[in-house]
Symmetry: C2
Subunit: 459 residues, 2 copies
């Protein structure tokens, strides 16, 4: 009897069918949903029809006229691309046990949506239409800017050409666009987002999975903000290599706590130095001590941010664990994400208890989180889309502030190291020894490199 997270309660497979004109943020929403569900171990994948179209027709040859509804050749290619994407998705549901597939395309006409509906039903997949509708010109212009600077359709194209061409493309789509209609579509499962989430219409949401997706989307905002992450300063337990417990900071840990306000200020830059941050810590002394010199008024403690519970191994060193529970020690190395300490937790357990924290993070603006190695790995994995099998092995050293700056299709990661030595708490696979606290020991193998410089990580 496997252990279920709240996400595995039903035997439902969902096809999220995006609907909307170009530049309404559809791809962004689709990608965020995939990232969120994947982090919750729900097998999900986005199928972008544009990518299929580009595989059929070289992007170089495509300008707005390709999308003119009177262009028969264009229409044929676009239909073939859509069909190929849907076919691949249906294959993926069967062959790779897909749970949530997202069809990222305009799907702007009723006829097309009915065709998708038909295919889904024939394959026992629940279709859920997710429309992004907007008449907010500032929002649309921002999306146009994001698309033309990131879309493969406009690589190597003149900026002014790209803008005009893309606007023309939108006009062509408008000619035939049919928005989801409360009366006509009353029997369908659909969500209609109006200007991000100023207004939301939700129709016939039935399964748990669908309700989670809706709740997630409801909580997204697009205001610019950053998230800062730090482990607590070096603790007394860290000095002796013990895990768990509720120890105080070491002398060097206190030095980091005193240094932290300066690191945060530097990361804000001169023009934003008065930005107001909210501080989140765990309920354990070492995170609160680390936060104690920060000059921000709003400090919240979350039990959900407490370190992974090592159960019977709480307070032991890795050498002691290896000696006392050699089989467990090996089992944990074999599958660190799933391994649950006797009477304690696994990484999967942490992800489940962090889920409300992630939801809240999506709602909030500037937050600095001071927490623990395993918890920080899980939060970082969510934002940077690090796969499950890798996230428990990421090296996140002590005395280092990480800043995440989420942009439309990427997150800028920067890392500020305080010049205060600390022990390493990084245990390589297959040893009970703690290694050098070197970021590169893991990160060089990771596809989400954390390094001292700015890095642009594709989400």
């Amino acid at each position: 009897m496997p252990v279920y997270s709240i996400s595995h309660i039903e035997n439902v497979r969902v096809c999220v069918v995006m609907v909307g004109l170009p530049a309404r943020g559809k791809s962004l929403i689709a990608q965020k949903i995939v990232r969120y569900l994947s982090w919750l171990s729900i097998n999900s994948k986005c199928f972008n029809v544009g990518a299929y179209r580009r595989a059929l027709v070289s992007a170089k040859g495509v300008d707005a006229t390709f999308f003119d509804p009177r262009n028969k050749v264009g229409l044929e290619y676009r239909e073939s691309a859509a069909d190929a994407a849907i076919e691949d998705m249906m294959k993926w549901f069967v062959e790779e046990n897909g749970v949530v597939g997202i069809l990222d395309a305009t799907n702007s006409r009723v006829e097309r949506r009915e065709r998708i509906l038909h295919i889904c039903r024939a394959n026992y997949i629940e279709p859920m239409f997710l429309e992004s509708w907007s008449d907010d010109q500032a929002l649309i212009l921002q999306n146009i800017f994001d698309v033309k600077t990131t879309s493969p359709d406009y690589v190597d194209k003149d900026e002014s050409f790209a803008t005009h061409d893309f606007l023309q493309r939108i006009e062509y789509y408008k000619e035939t666009y049919q928005t989801m209609d409360k009366a006509r579509d009353v029997d369908l499962t659909f969500v209609k987002l109006i200007n991000v989430n100023s207004q939301i219409i939700i129709n016939r949401i039935e399964s748990y999975l669908e309700s989670r997706i809706v709740y997630y989307v409801m909580n997204l905002h697009i205001k610019p903000r950053c998230i800062w992450l730090s482990r607590h300063g070096e603790s007394q337990y860290n000095l002796t290599g013990r895990i768990g417990g509720d120890a105080n900071l070491s002398e060097r840990g206190w030095r980091y706590a005193k240094k932290l306000p300066e690191l945060v200020l530097n990361s804000l830059g001169e023009e934003n130095k008065h930005t107001n941050l909210t501080i989140w810590t765990s309920t354990l002394a070492r995170t609160q001590q680390t936060a104690s010199f920060l000059p921000y008024k709003k400090k919240l403690q979350w039990k959900a941010l407490d370190e992974l519970d090592a159960g019977e191994c709480d307070g032991m060193t890795y050498e002691e664990i290896e000696a006392k529970f050699p089989e467990d020690f090996k089992a944990r190395d074999d599958n660190k994400y799933e391994y649950r300490y006797r009477g304690g937790e696994s990484y999967r357990d942490i992800v489940i208890r962090l889920e409300p924290i992630i939801m809240e993070l999506e709602r909030q603006e500037n937050i600095l989180i001071i927490t623990h190695q395993a918890v920080l790995r899980c939060i970082y994995a969510y934002f940077m889309n690090v796969p499950q099998e890798e996230s428990p092995w990421m090296s996140i050293p002590l005395h280092t502030l990480i800043k995440l700056d989420p942009r439309a299709y990427s997150t800028i990661v920067s890392q500020m190291k305080a010049d205060i030595p600390a022990v390493s708490t990084y245990k390589e696979r297959g040893t009970s020894q703690l290694g050098e606290s070197s970021i590169s020991s893991y990160a060089s193998k990771s596809r989400d490199l954390i390094n001292n410089s700015l890095s642009l990580a594709k989400k």
Copy 2:
């Protein structure tokens, strides 16, 4: 720095203004929201304008003509009642630190809603309109049946009179009713539920509290179903009075596990004996062993259903805890809900981790939960509206199956005792001795009596 649950992140106070014709389930929704938020320690209260009206005008003198929009005297009384309810709510926000007040009334005209809006804004309260709209005749008739059998307006009235009079009252309201309008009300925060939650329109939800209320309401359903609760069978640890751990069942515990299928069957009755239940257990051996003879296929393990983590006291008896940590032992007796074991959990912590379970329970149909004493107390407290200071002291004996049968305005509780002896695990306040496992030891003092007969507990 107090410990925050996810519900305390903002400094927002909300007035939920119910909107809708009579018999649209407004009071039911209002009461469920209050129960849910109270369980999450969010101070909330429902102000029912009908009750204020009855205090002004004896219910006996009121028939449908009172609600005729042309009846000036009736109109005056109704306005006075509404004003008094709002005034009391505003007082409650200030004097009793109210967080979510619900104004339960039809609020069916724009003029009235604008007046409420004005008062809320003047008092720095966020108004959120929650409309229940329905054209589903079966649903409306069910609500009419619920209202006329429970409303104080129809006590001692002839049933046929009550039905006709209530239908006439609805007709009078229809004459002036103005539904929430996407265009006119675009700047307001509102939720419009159409036929329970077949369709939901959500407009300008901004605060976290509001989003939680919306998500909760989204997940409600009105299909009839029952929830069964049981503690695991007596465990080896129970025999020696130890808490925590992951012990196996005792011989008597195994006998209870074998008996459980019969108890469940009896509780279903002959006509429902083929009802399909889903079994939820914790991840601990004793709950899974207790579930092992149940003939239902769907069994799920939830980490969130694990027993309260006693931290450093795990595996100890109450005598040992009293001897080793006398101050903690006393502190726990003084405030059992808030007391957090060293390195472990409090009842409040359990409620936070149970929140997704409760949300899922609202979505599901027939569920049997096999879990642990403290967790079961918290779940029971949610359904039966047991106050925080009482719930940790409820006696829920071993080898007893509890069935909750939620109805419109009440929950029928029945309790089936297996005739298999078990130790008592009930510790009275101020002692380390375990008492007789007598339900009456607590329940006689409780306002939510659990007894061996059927009891109708008002929600």
